[in-house]
């Protein structure tokens, strides 16, 4: 974690990973609406078409279900497609293809066919973009066996995780927190290694309370942790990075030491990732818990109008309030 003013934004970091992957492996192809000539709605795919041409950087028609279905077919026949959904809110047109085919082809063909496909999609609130453009529906994907769902929180992690996703033999839903796209910069080494999908990452050590988050909310969780240090509350922060398959071990181990678990994410709470994380910890470390588990999430409402967007999102204050209450319990 760094607030260095030099380095790459998340947009640049993902762009760099795409350039590197395209250079490394000529079975990769980038496809989606306006990913070529226009360089993507968020400029994430800028310059790819100049370097790799229209055969591998494919401006598709406006047809999400078709794009994903096509990409699955390509993947079954030797390609490693990296498809872009302009916003995660448009990926629902493609849900049927993802659920019925991407996630199941390996299983259905008893391993004869695989779908090494990455579907990238910006998600999440915080940029005043209103509904369809602000939701956090990672559990749609996390719920499907056969899929991996990954959410990077910083530019360097986005770079490392995207490399891992592209190399992964199975389909990966790669959700990019658009609120972080240009919020921070991070240096990325020339020889940066791919990350390990399916591992949670301890980003701050602490002994009083385990604070688990991911995506854009990780930064609020960290801010809450830093500021609570002044109140002598020592918080361990974990970035789960992979929604599914979830690395619960790392979290459970931490809770085994702190005895307190607070989960922060921006999705509606009901049937969300926070519930799953809590359950996995209960299964492993129930007796270590000193106080009830808490979560600070969005609300069970539609992502609201921009005037109230910050009320919807977990604020640093709400996170601090929950942590203090847990320490007082």
């Amino acid at each position: 974690m760094t607030d260095a003013s030099d380095g790459l934004t998340m947009v640049d970091a993902i762009n760099r990973a795409l350039h590197e992957a395209m250079a490394e492996d000529d079975t990769t192809a980038v496809m989606g609406q306006d990913v070529g000539v226009n360089g993507g709605v968020f400029r994430v795919t800028e310059g790819l078409i100049d370097d790799y041409g229209v055969a591998r950087v494919i401006d598709t028609p406006l047809a999400e279900s078709g794009i994903v279905g096509l990409a699955i077919g390509m993947a079954m026949n030797g390609a490693r497609p990296i498809a872009e959904m302009q916003f995660s809110g448009f990926s629902y047109y493609a849900l049927a293809q993802i659920e019925n085919h991407a996630a199941r082809i390996r299983w259905r063909t008893r391993g004869a066919h695989t779908v090494p496909l990455v579907i990238r999609m910006p998600y999440g609130a915080g940029v005043r973009a209103l509904e369809h453009h602000s939701e956090s529906r990672e559990v749609f994907y996390g719920h499907m066996p056969g899929l991996k769902t990954v959410i990077p929180a910083t530019p360097a992690r986005a770079h490392a995780l995207l490399h891992a996703a592209i190399r992964d033999p199975d389909p990966v839903i790669f959700m990019e927190p658009k609120a972080v796209y240009r919020q921070m910069r991070e240096p990325i080494a020339d020889d940066a290694e791919p990350a390990q999908i399916g591992t949670s990452r301890v980003v701050r050590r602490g002994k009083d309370l385990t604070l688990v988050s991911y995506g854009a909310m990780l930064h609020r969780a960290l801010e809450a942790a830093e500021t609570l240090a002044a109140e002598d509350i020592d918080i361990e922060v974990i970035d789960i990075e992979t929604i599914a398959p979830l690395d619960a071990e790392t979290i459970a181990k931490s809770v085994g030491q702190t005895g307190r678990l607070l989960i922060v994410n921006e999705a509606p709470p009901s049937y969300g990732a926070a519930g799953e994380i809590a359950m996995r910890v209960i299964e492993q470390e129930f007796y270590a818990l000193r106080v009830p588990i808490r979560r600070v999430c969005g609300w069970d409402v539609h992502v609201p109008f921009f005037a109230r967007e910050q009320t919807y999102l977990p604020s640093v204050d709400r996170i601090r309030g929950a942590a203090r209450a847990m320490m007082a319990d």
Binding site: D59, P61, F90, H133, W299, F305, A307
Partner: protein, 343 residues
């Protein structure tokens, strides 16, 4: 409809009265000025979310609405400001929705893309490209079931025309003879993608032929031609003959939304359209050369519209932001959603 004498060569349109021409001029100008103001407010940071301007396409909705009657319905995409103004919705309510205020048509909760008016039978603004098309056919299905002769104008873009739902809908509309007019607003681009780069056929309306749906190309920069086509399509639908497709060739002058790198077309292309095919200029010159209006008459209209748009802008700044409780309203009928305290 009062007949009028043909004067200038291009003015030879026998089936339109001076009053109608004036009304089209006024309605188109209102949309243009409204959109210019919206662009300014966006630039000032007053409008959140997205803002897709209709400038250049005014003749499409104004021409289509000319053939509508009470009870007819309209549904469209996110590029919806023009449609709302053309069907008589209040510019104040539209502008206040853009700024996310309580006085907006969606109480400030929808923004530019999501507004509705039950009273004016405007079934939205929809942000998911192509998704309004089956909804439009459903509206028409209900009217047919009720046995009235209303039609539904279902608008979508050239880009949306590549979504599969559109063809599921064409099939059902033709199968059940639904009174729906599919209006393809072909402004030649879907965001940064030119039609030829995304669409296998040069014309889109021909896809209807496979389903047995008649259709035609219409010059969308000429409000009279749009009106004529609209009358024809409406008559077809009202007579119970099933759906009709109008592929209206139009052009948007501004970027796709307010952030548009504009790498996909030349300035000259836009400039040429504005100079040679502007739909408002065309009617203006018809009015003047036909001596249906004087420069002073038109100035008076300009002034009136300026006033309306300024009032709308003022209202959109003064109207308060929606109350905090609005976060939890209208999720369910009884407000069953959890309140902040419960969470």
């Amino acid at each position: 409809m009062a007949a009028r004498k043909a004067s200038a060569k291009s003015a030879a349109k026998p089936n339109v009265s001076a009053e109608e021409l004036m009304a089209y001029y006024r309605d188109m100008l209102l949309i243009r000025r409204f959109e210019e103001k919206a662009g300014q407010l966006y630039g000032m940071g007053l409008i959140g979310g997205f803002c897709h301007l209709y400038i250049g396409q005014e003749a499409v909705v104004v021409g289509l609405e000319a053939a509508a009657k009470e009870g007819d319905k309209r549904i469209t995409s996110y590029r919806d400001h023009g449609h709302m103004l053309a069907c008589g919705m209040d510019p104040k309510g539209v502008m206040a929705e853009l700024t996310g205020r309580e006085g907006g048509y969606s109480k400030g909760k929808g923004g530019s893309m999501h507004m509705f008016s039950k009273e004016k039978h405007f079934y939205g603004g929809h942000g998911i490209v192509g998704a309004q098309v089956p909804l439009g056919a459903g509206l028409a299905f209900s009217d047919k079931y009720k046995g009235n002769d209303n039609v539904t104008f279902t608008y979508f873009g050239d880009g949306a025309a590549n979504q599969g739902q559109v063809y599921e809908t064409f099939n059902m509309a033709a199968l059940w003879d639904l009174p729906v007019i599919f209006v393809i607003e072909n402004n030649q681009y879907a965001m940064g993608t030119a039609q030829a780069r995304s669409t296998s056929s040069a014309d889109i309306y021909v896809r209807g032929e496979a389903f047995g749906i008649p259709g035609e190309i219409v010059d969308g920069m000429d409000v009279l031609k749009v009106k004529e086509a609209s009358e024809k399509a409406v008559a077809h639908c009202r007579a119970g003959k099933g759906p009709y497709i109008l592929e209206i060739k139009t052009y948007r002058y501004r970027g796709h939304s307010m952030s548009d790198p504009a790498k996909y077309r030349t300035r000259e292309e836009v400039q040429k359209m504005r100079e040679e095919r502007d739909p408002i200029e065309a009617v203006r010159s018809l009015l003047l050369t036909g001596k249906h209006a004087s420069e002073d008459d038109l100035k008076a209209i300009d002034k009136e519209i300026k006033g309306i748009v300024n009032d709308a802008a003022e209202f959109s700044k003064e109207s308060p932001e929606p109350a905090l409780e609005e976060l939890w309203t209208d999720i369910y009928a009884k407000g069953d959603a959890p309140q902040e305290e419960d969470a």
